[in-house]
C-alpha cells in the first residue's frame, strides 16, 4: 500500500493545451469554408500538405531532441501552425511551397528555438514571410474568385495545378489567373495599391470587378468567417478578447484618420477590416500566446501596435501582405512590452522603472 505524494493544488481545472489547440483549429472552420466556397480546393489541399509535413518535421525533431513524442506530437500546436499556413498561402501555389513553409515553420522557427512555448515568432507567419521573400512569384499566385474565373476549377484541376503547375486540360497557373474579361487578377488589396500608385483615386479603383459589391468578392466572406470563429473562441475563453479588439480598433482609427485626411487615396475603414487577412490576424495570429505579450496591458499595446503597423505597411509598404510583417515586428517587441507592462503586485506601490 503506497501513499501518493503530490504537491498542492490537488485538483485541476482539467484543461489541456491540446484541447485548447483543437478548439482553435475548429474555430478556423468557418473561414476555411468561405475560402473553399469562393476560391476552391486550393487552400484545403495546402492545409493537408502542410499538416503532413509538420507532423513529419515535428516527429523528426522531437526524436532528435529525445522528447516525449506521444504527448508533444499531437498537442495540436503543430497542426494549428499548418492550418494557419495553409490558409495564408495562395490557393494555386505549387505543392512545395506549403511543404517548404511548414518545414521552415516547425524546424527553424519553432523547434530550433526550443519547441512549444519558446519560439519568439509566430511559426506560420515567419514561414509565410520567408516564402514571400524567397519565392515572390509563387507566393503571389492569387487567383480571382471562382465566379470571376474563365475556367472551371474543380478539385482534380486544383490538385493537378498544385502538383504539376497545369490543370488536367493543360492550362497553366497564369492562364487560370486571367479574368473573364481578359486581364490578370490580384487581390483586392493589391489591386487598390497598384491603382493608387497609377494615380487613380480609391473610388475609381473600386470600379474594378474584383471588389464586387463591398470590399472584394469572397475576401469579405472569408473575413467574416474568421470573425465568427474568433467570436466563438472568445465565448469559449480560449483567447483573450483584448487582443483582437485592440487590434481592430487601432486599425479602424488609423484608416479613419487617413480617410479624413485624404479620402481619395485611402480605403475605407471597413475595407481594411474585411480584406486581406485582417480577421485571421486579429483572432488567430495575434492571439498566439507564445509569441505575444502576456499581461492585459501588454496585449493592448501589442495589438494596437500591430494595427498601426498593418495600416502603415498596407499604405506605404512594398508588399500588400501587411499582417505577416506586422505580426513579426510585434513579436520582436513583445518581450520589451512585457518588461514595461508588469502589473503591480499586491501590496506593492506602483513601481517606477
Amino acid at each position: 500500500m503506497a501513499f501518493w505524494i503530490a504537491s498542492s493544488p490537488h485538483n485541476h481545472i482539467q484543461s489541456e493545451t491540446s484541447a485548447l489547440m483543437r478548439l482553435v483549429i475548429y474555430a478556423t472552420l468557418p473561414g476555411i469554408f468561405a475560402q473553399w466556397y469562393f476560391f476552391g480546393w486550393g487552400n484545403i489541399i495546402h492545409i493537408a500538405l502542410a499538416s503532413c509535413t509538420v507532423l513529419f518535421a515535428e516527429f523528426s525533431v522531437l526524436s532528435l531532441r529525445h522528447k516525449k513524442i506521444s504527448s508533444e506530437l499531437f498537442d495540436g500546436s503543430a497542426i494549428l501552425t499548418a492550418v494557419l499556413l495553409g490558409i495564408s498561402i495562395p490557393a494555386l501555389a505549387p505543392w512545395w511551397i506549403s511543404v517548404f513553409g511548414a518545414l521552415f515553420a516547425i524546424v527553424i522557427v519553432k523547434q530550433l528555438y526550443g519547441g512549444l512555448g519558446h519560439n519568439p515568432f509566430n511559426p506560420a507567419m515567419a514561414a509565410y514571410v520567408m516564402l514571400l521573400i524567397s519565392f515572390p512569384v509563387q507566393m503571389t499566385l492569387w487567383q480571382p474568385p471562382l465566379n470571376l474565373m474563365s475556367f472551371d476549377l474543380n478539385f482534380q484541376n486544383t490538385l493537378s495545378t498544385i502538383f504539376t503547375g497545369y490543370t488536367i486540360d493543360g492550362f497553366s497557373t497564369e492562364q487560370l489567373r486571367v479574368h473573364v474579361d481578359g486581364f490578370t487578377m490580384a487581390t483586392p488589396l493589391d489591386t487598390l495599391k497598384t491603382d493608387l500608385t497609377l494615380g487613380l483615386t480609391t473610388s475609381e479603383s473600386f470600379k474594378s470587378p474584383i471588389f464586387g459589391q463591398h470590399f472584394g468578392i469572397g475576401w469579405e466572406w472569408v473575413n467574416i468567417g474568421f470573425l465568427l470563429g474568433g467570436i466563438f473562441l472568445i465565448i469559449k475563453k480560449a483567447i483573450d478578447w483584448v487582443t483582437p479588439v485592440s487590434f481592430l480598433i487601432s486599425l479602424f482609427f488609423c484608416s479613419l484618420l487617413a480617410f479624413f485626411i485624404s479620402p481619395d487615396s485611402s480605403a475605407s475603414t471597413m475595407f481594411h477590416w474585411f480584406s486581406g487577412a485582417t480577421m485571421l490576424g486579429a483572432f488567430f495570429i495575434l492571439t498566439d500566446p507564445v509569441s505575444g505579450a502576456t499581461s492585459t496591458k501588454g496585449r493592448i499595446i501589442f495589438a494596437a501596435l500591430a494595427g498601426l503597423l498593418v495600416y502603415l505597411i498596407r499604405k506605404f509598404g512594398g508588399y500588400p501582405d501587411a499582417i505577416a510583417f506586422a505580426v513579426l515586428l510585434c513579436n520582436m517587441s513583445a518581450p520589451l512590452i512585457d518588461q514595461y507592462t508588469r502589473p503591480r503586485a499586491y501590496g506593492h506601490q506602483s513601481e517606477k522603472k
Partner: protein, 701 residues
C-alpha cells in the same frame, strides 16, 4: 467612514484574480458535527503551531487528567498543549507529524483510560470582570493558536494593539470540500459570538467585520441572528471565490485596503481571527476548557460517510477515516487540508493538530494523480487568476533557471501558495511546487549569505589588526636596528674576533627572528598562530635549557679554576700557543659563544617577562637594562643583549597578543634561575672581554 458605509450597503471590493473550483461542500454540509468515541491512542505533537514548542511538564508513565497542561508556556512564541482526555502517558518519542515533507517530531503518546475525567475547572460567567491582560494570559495558557491553517499563537496576535480599526473574523472558508467552520457556526453560533465579544473587550476595535462567502446561507443566517443586537458587528456576505479566505484577500475584499508587502495587517490597524479560533477563545475563557478538540471535515469520495467530526487533538487520521467508512484503495491518497492548499500525508498514523481543518480522501476520479506537465505556452491564464497579481509564468521560468535575483524582482515572496495558477494552467505545470522549491532555496541562500557576511567582517577586522601590528612592529624594529648600528659603529673601532663572534651570535638570533617573522607574515589564518606560539615557546624553552647547561658548566669551571676572572684570562692567554692550550682556547671560544647565547636567552626571557605586563614602556626597559648590566662592564655583550632584547621584545609582543598567560608562567618559573645565571654570565662576559683584550695585544705584537 466611507468604507464602513459601503460595507453597510453590502458593497464590497474585488481582489485580483481568483478561481471557482468545484466546491464539493455538499458532501458534508448537510450532516451535523459528529462526536466520536475515544480512539485507542492519542498522539500529541509537542509543537502544533508556528513558533517554539513548550517545555515538557510530564514524563512517561504519568497519569494525566483531561485538560491537564502538558507543556509549559516557556517563551513568548510557545503555545502549551493539553491532555485531550484522561489517561496515561505511554511514551514520549519522535513520530511522524502533520508536515508536507512527512517530518518527525517529539510526540506524547497517551493511552486513554476511558474515564475522560476532567481536571478541576473554574467557569467564568462574566469575563468583563477580568482584566484584558488576564484574558490574554488565559488564552495563552489554553494553548490557542490560529485554527485557520497557519497556527500563529493567538495571544501574540491580540497582545500587540495600537488603535485597531477593524477586527475581521474570517469565516470565508473558501477552500473546496471544507465545511468545518460552516457547521461550527451553525451549531455553536452563540459561543463563537461570545469569542468575538471577548476579542472586542480585549482589543477595543472600532468595527468588527465577519467575512463569509455566500455559499453558506445557513451559517449566514445563524450569524445574523446571533449578532443582530450588536451594532458593532457587521456580517459581510462575499461572493464565493477562491481564495477569499486568504488573509490579504479578505482584507482587500472587505476594506479595499492592501497590506503592504512584507508588513502585517496590524500596520493597517487590522487584526484577523478565524471563527474557529473565536470559538476556542470563548471555550477557554468562559468554560475554562483549553484547546483539546476541534471540528474536522472528513470528506472525499473515497469515504462512505463523509462528515464533520469533533476530533480530539492527537487523534490519528486512520481512526477518523475508519469512523467515516474509508474504502482503502491500492494507492492511498490522503490530503490534510483542502484540495488547493492541503498536503499529502506520508502515512495514516499522523495525528490531528490544532490547525487541521480537513482530511480529504479523494477517489481517483476526483484528484488526478498523473503528472502531465508540458511546456508553458505563455497563455497568461495564471497571471489572470493570481490573487497577488504576480506573473506566475515568468516566475516559473526564473524558478526553473534558478535565477534568484529575478525571482525576487518578480516578488516571489508575495506568493501565498494558493495554487490558483497551477489549477488553471492548461499545460498542467505544478507551478506552486516550483515556487516552494525556489523559496526554500532562496531562504537557505540568504542564511548562508548572512553567515558569509559575518565571516567576512571578522576576517577584515583581523586583517586590519594584523596590519597595524605589523606596522608597529616594523617601526620598533627600525628603531632597534638604528640603535644597533650606532653601537656597532662604536665597537668597530676596536674590531676584534670577539666582536665578530658576538656579531655572529646576533646574526643567528636575527636569522631566527627573521624566520619566525617570515612564518608569521606568511600565515594569515588564526589556526596557525598557536602553532607558531608553540614553536617560539619551544625555542625559548630550548634556549633556557641550553643556558642552564652552560651555566652549570661555567660554575664547574669556575670552581676548578677558583681564581678571579682576570687571572684566568691571563692563564688562558699564556697557554694559548700550545696545542693543548689551543684546544682549550677553542673550548673557551665555544664557551664564549654559548655564554653569549645564554645572555641572549636571558634577555629573551626578560623581555618575555616584560611582555607579560603588556605595557612596555621604554623607561622600564632601560631600568631593566641597567639592572642586567650593572654587574659587568662589557659593553659589547651589554649591547648585544640589548639588541637581542629589543628583537625579542618585538617577538614577545607578538606572543603576548596571543598567549600572554603561557609566556608569563614560563617566564615566572625562570626568574630565580636567572638571578643565579646573571652572575655566572657576568663572569663569562668578563672572561670574554679579557680574552678579546689579549687577542688584541697579540695582534699588536
Amino acid at each position: 467612514m466611507s468604507i464602513i458605509e459601503r460595507i453597510k450597503k453590502g458593497h464590497f471590493w474585488k481582489f485580483h484574480g481568483g478561481i471557482h473550483p468545484p466546491e464539493q461542500k455538499f458532501l458534508t454540509n448537510d450532516k451535523p458535527i459528529r462526536t466520536l468515541d475515544l480512539p485507542d491512542e492519542l498522539i500529541l505533537p509537542l509543537q502544533q503551531h508556528i513558533g517554539q514548542r513548550g517545555e515538557l511538564l510530564v514524563k512517561e508513565g504519568d497519569k494525566v487528567l483531561k485538560g491537564q497542561q502538558l507543556t509549559l508556556l516557556s517563551s513568548p512564541m510557545s503555545v502549551p498543549i493539553h491532555a485531550p482526555t484522561s489517561g496515561i502517558i505511554k511514551a514520549i518519542k519522535s513520530s511522524t507529524i502533520a508536515h508536507p515533507s512527512g517530518l518527525s517530531d517529539l510526540c506524547l503518546f497517551i493511552t486513554p483510560d476511558n474515564v475522560d475525567k476532567w481536571q478541576e475547572r473554574q467557569s467564568c460567567e462574566d469575563f468583563y470582570q477580568k482584566s484584558p491582560q488576564e484574558i490574554i494570559n488565559k488564552i495563552a495558557n489554553a494553548g490557542i493558536a490560529g485554527m485557520g491553517g497557519a497556527g500563529f499563537p493567538t495571544h501574540i496576535k491580540i497582545s500587540s494593539k495600537p488603535s485597531i480599526n477593524y477586527l475581521i473574523i474570517n469565516a470565508a472558508e473558501c477552500e473546496p470540500y471544507i465545511t468545518a467552520d460552516d457547521l461550527l457556526i451553525r451549531e455553536q453560533s452563540t459561543t463563537a459570538i461570545d469569542g468575538i465579544k471577548i476579542l472586542d473587550y480585549v482589543l477595543q476595535p472600532e468595527h468588527i467585520l465577519i467575512g463569509i462567502e455566500d455559499n453558506k446561507p445557513d451559517a449566514i443566517k445563524a450569524l445574523k441572528k446571533a449578532t443582530k443586537d450588536i451594532k458593532k458587528i457587521t456580517v459581510c456576505v462575499l461572493p464565493t471565490k477562491y481564495p477569499t479566505g486568504g488573509e490579504k484577500q479578505l482584507i482587500t475584499a472587505l476594506t479595499g485596503l492592501e497590506v503592504p508587502s512584507g508588513q502585517l495587517p496590524i500596520n493597517l490597524g487590522i487584526i484577523m481571527q478565524n471563527i474557529a479560533t473565536c470559538f476556542a477563545i470563548a471555550d477557554a475563557v468562559i468554560n475554562d476548557t483549553p484547546l483539546i478538540r476541534r471540528v474536522v471535515t472528513v470528506t472525499g469520495q473515497a469515504l462512505a460517510k463523509p462528515q464533520n467530526v469533533w476530533a480530539l487533538l492527537g487523534t490519528p487520521v486512520n481512526y477518523l477515516l475508519e469512523q467515516c467508512g474509508y474504502q482503502a484503495t491500492k494507492d492511498k491518497n490522503l490530503i490534510m487540508g483542502g484540495p488547493m492548499m492541503g498536503f499529502n500525508l506520508a502515512n495514516d498514523q499522523v495525528p490531528i493538530i490544532k490547525t487541521t481543518n480537513c482530511i480529504l480522501a479523494p477517489s481517483k476520479q476526483e484528484v488526478s494523480s498523473e503528472n502531465n506537465e508540458v511546456d508553458c505556452i505563455r497563455c497568461g491564464q495564471c497571471a489572470d487568476v493570481c490573487p497577488s497579481q504576480l506573473l506566475p509564468q515568468e516566475l516559473q521560468w526564473s524558478a526553473k533557471a534558478k535565477d534568484h535575483v529575478q525571482l525576487q524582482k518578480l516578488n516571489l515572496f508575495d506568493c501565498i501558495d494558493c495554487g490558483a495558477c497551477a489549477y488553471v494552467c492548461p499545460s498542467q505545470i505544478p507551478l506552486v511546487q516550483y515556487y516552494r522549491i525556489a523559496k526554500a532555496e532562496i531562504r537557505q541562500q540568504q542564511m548562508l549569505d548572512v553567515q558569509a557576511e559575518k565571516a567576512k567582517i571578522r576576517f577584515e577586522a583581523r586583517k586590519k589588526r594584523l596590519e597595524q601590528e605589523k606596522i608597529a612592529r616594523e617601526a620598533k624594529h627600525k628603531k632597534a636596528a638604528e640603535a644597533r648600528k650606532a653601537s656597532m659603529n662604536k665597537k668597530n673601532e676596536g674590531g676584534s674576533s670577539a666582536t665578530s663572534a658576538v656579531a655572529a651570535a646576533l646574526a643567528r638570533v636575527k636569522a631566527k627572528k627573521a624566520s619566525a617573522q617570515a612564518a608569521k607574515n606568511n600565515e594569515n589564518s588564526i589556526t596557525e598562530q598557536p602553532t607558531q606560539d608553540i614553536d617560539t615557546k619551544s625555542k625559548v624553552a630550548g634556549a633556557i635549557s641550553r643556558a642552564k647547561a652552560k651555566k652549570m658548566a661555567l660554575n664547574k669551571e669556575a670552581k676548578e679554576n677558583n681564581t678571579v676572572v682576570e687571572a684566568k684570562v691571563v692563564n688562558t692567554a699564556k697557554s694559548n700557543k700550545t696545542d693543548k692550550d689551543k684546544d682549550k682556547d677553542n673550548d673557551n671560544d665555544n664557551d664564549k659563544k654559548a655564554r653569549i647565547a645564554a645572555a641572549v636567552a636571558k634577555a629573551k626571557q626578560k623581555s618575555a617577562q616584560r611582555a607579560s605586563s603588556i605595557e612596555q614602556k621604554p623607561e622600564i626597559q632601560s631600568v631593566v637594562e641597567e639592572n642586567t648590566s650593572s654587574r659587568d662592564e662589557n659593553k659589547k655583550a651589554k649591547i648585544s643583549a640589548a639588541v637581542a632584547k629589543a628583537k625579542e621584545k618585538a617577538k614577545a609582543k607578538k606572543l603576548a597578543t596571543a598567549e600572554i598567560k603561557d609566556s608569563q608562567t614560563s617566564a615566572d618559573s625562570e626568574i630565580n634561575r636567572q638571578e643565579k645565571k646573571k652572575i655566572a654570565i657576568a663572569k663569562a662576559i668578563a672572561k670574554a672581554k679579557a680574552k678579546a683584550k689579549k687577542q688584541q695585544k697579540e695582534e699588536t705584537k
